[in-house]
Each structure stands twice: as structure tokens, then as C-alpha cells.
Symmetry: C2
Subunit: 192 residues, 2 copies
DNA sequence: ACACTAACAGACAGGTCTGTATATTGCAAG
DNA sequence: CTTGCAATATACAGACCTGTCTGTTAGTGT
């Protein structure tokens, strides 16, 4: 029956953790199709058979990567201090600036993955859809609480600006991003 | 000396044209790394040797694809009827809606390519940089002529909204895009 | 008629990809 | 001690990748 309640490694298995961490780093920095299994297992220090014990295929690893990024993003938003809707929106949008000033920014991992997965019914694309729906709905709820007359439209515009500024931080000058985020929020919201 | 002035095929060679058209279609719909040379030459009906006569390597074909998309976009903007700055900006942004309602939209080809080319010094990335600089500068000049107090910042916001709405047209509901474009322009510009 | 060019078809080399299989090691539970 | 498990290294199959090469065919200018 396997009594693995608080046993030697109750962690999610060190090998699996190392594989996902390495895959996250390599997929994000190099692109998904461009990074092979061989390189991931070599840099993670894991045997190939062990990899295929934890993940049935490469696509499952990609999916685990996307889903973990989604989960981390939602947790970061949930961990924001409770504050009035308008400030909460500013705080959520402010996460764009934080992600960028850290350096090594290579664009939004979800948009990058979507560029490599054209099939909208693939699990990866569906995970991306779920994450976008969550982001839009979170903003819409806050906008509604703030009294926005058309919270769905405003939320769509905030999502678009988020995506666009994340791309701009990758392809243009990241230095301008914090000011642009503030300016975008001000212009899109400051209309009673 | 080759007197090819208005000779039998003054066109850029039918095979080259077919190769670039086929590559454009396949690269855009399927992604760049995911589409191989074999498939391109098969669907273009061109021999492999002929391909390598016209393009030294696959990357040259990718670059030709990106540069042609850039050239076509600039030509479409240049072909817009002359009108006051504010209307010109609306017309340029309106091209987003046109691209989307046509159907088969799979995201901005430049952002998709950038996702697959992490090296900022690669020719593909430099072509993308050039295209983004042109777009930003075009909008900035129009905003300056319109009397915008901070045309560079407003241009950056319009670029971000353009990128974001193009991604939204791919990943969310394309139906809302025309209204969102109009609303974004109104909210970002209507502040004397 | 002859030479040149561009295109064709297709085989091949060398590398890399995903995924499977084999055989061995270390460790912990019972 | 023995049984079982998880991990190791490594080799392999089969597909696909880019790029090169050989040889043939069609059309054109001189």
C-alpha cells in the first residue's frame, strides 16, 4: 500500500523538481521546440529513463511548465495585500514592471508558447486560454467593484496593454516600462 | 553580362516566388521551427537544389519572409489616403481590425517570430527591431503633428495596444477587436 | 546547331529529435 | 537478508532535419 506519509523524500521527488526547474529555464530562454529532451536531462543531471518515468512525453513536460507558471502567477496575485479595487488593479499591473526590472526578461511565457502551438485544441493552448480567462475575469471583477461602466471592455484593454508592454519589455527598451504601465493605467481608467 | 532588362521572366523568378509564398503560408500558420525545408519545397513544387540556389540557407528564407511582411505592412500604410494626423492614426490602428476579420489570424508574425528567435543579434531579430522602430516612429510623428504633449510615450502605448490586441485577436474572441481598437484609441488620445 | 541556364527528381551524408530498452547501482522496508 | 523501488548510464530504433551532390530535362540566345 505504500505508506509514504512523511517519509524520506516527501518532496515531489528531487528528480522531478530538477527536471521541471531546468525545463522552465531552458524553455523560457531558448524556446520550446528548440530545446531537446537530451539537453534538459543533461543539465538536470537526470537519466533519460527517469525523465520518462516522471513525464510520459515531452508535451507533458511542456504542459507542466505552463501550468506551473500559471499557478505561480495566480499565487503572486493572491498574495497581494488587500486594498481598494483601484489600487489593487494598479498593483496587479505593477507586477509587469517587477518582472521586467529583474533582468533576463524574454517575453511572456504564455504568449511565447502560444506562438509555438498553433492548434487551439492542444492541452498547452487550453492551459493558456484558462490563464487568460482568469486574468481577464480578475480585472473585470475589480473594475466592476470600482464602478467602471463597462468593466469587460476595460478589462480587455488592460489585458491587451499587459500583453503589449510585456512584449515591449522584451523587444524594446525595458527601462521605460514602469512609467508606461503607470501611464496606461491612468489613461485607461481615469474616465469616471 | 546578362542583359536581363525586360526579358522573358523579369519577375523575380517563378520558383523563388512560389517558395516565398509557400514559406510565408507555412511559417505563419505552423511556426518557423516546426516547418521543414522538405515540406516547403514539396508544397511549392520546387526541387531542393533549386531552393538552395535561391536561398543559401533556411534562415535566409526566414529572413526574406520577415522582411517581405515588413515591406508589405509599410506599403499598406503608405497607401492610406492622406488625412489629418488624428484620422491617420485611427486608420493605421484600424488595420488591426481588417487583418483580423479576414479570418485565419494566427497572431502577429513578428511577435511569433521573435518568440522563436531569442538571440537579439540574429538577422531575424534585427529585422523585427527595424519594423518596430518604424511603427513607433510613424505614430510618434503623427502624434507630434497632432499636438500630443508627449508623443513618444503615447506612441509606445499605441504600439503596446497594437501588439496586445493582435495577440487578443489570436487567443481570445476576434469579434470584439474592432470595438476595442476604437475604444483604445479614444481613451489613449482623448486627453488634450 | 551549340552553349548556357534554370529548373527538375532524387539519393545521400551527418546530425538531432523523441521515445524505448537493457543492465546496473544504491537504499530502505519488512 | 531479500525484495522492491528509484535512480543511474548507455545503446538503440526510427523519424526528421539541413544541406550537398549527381544526373536529367526544357527553354533561350547566339
Amino acid at each position: 500500500m505504500k505508506e509514504n506519509i512523511s517519509h524520506s523524500p516527501p518532496e515531489t521527488s528531487s528528480a522531478r523538481r530538477r527536471l521541471l526547474d531546468t525545463a522552465t529555464r531552458l524553455f523560457y530562454s531558448g524556446g520550446i521546440h528548440a530545446v531537446g529532451i537530451d539537453r534538459i536531462i543533461a543539465e538536470a543531471g537526470v537519466a533519460k529513463a527517469t525523465f520518462y518515468n516522471h513525464f510520459p512525453s515531452k508535451e507533458d513536460l511542456v504542459l507542466a511548465y505552463i501550468e506551473e507558471q500559471d499557478r505561480l502567477g495566480r499565487a503572486a496575485v493572491a498574495a497581494l495585500p488587500k486594498q481598494p479595487p483601484r489600487e489593487m488593479i494598479a498593483a496587479i499591473m505593477g507586477r509587469i514592471s517587477e518582472a521586467v526590472v529583474a533582468g533576463g526578461w524574454r517575453g511572456c511565457p504564455f504568449l511565447n508558447a502560444a506562438a509555438e502551438y498553433p492548434n487551439p485544441t492542444s492541452p498547452v493552448r487550453q492551459a493558456i486560454d484558462a490563464r487568460r480567462a482568469w486574468y481577464h475575469d480578475s480585472l473585470r471583477a475589480l473594475l466592476a467593484a470600482d464602478g467602471d461602466p463597462d468593466p469587460s471592455v476595460t478589462a480587455s484593454l488592460l489585458v491587451a496593454v499587459s500583453d503589449g508592454l510585456l512584449e515591449s519589455a522584451y523587444l524594446d527598451d525595458p527601462e521605460n516600462i514602469p512609467a508606461l504601465v503607470r501611464e496606461a493605467v491612468a489613461r485607461l481608467l481615469d474616465r469616471r
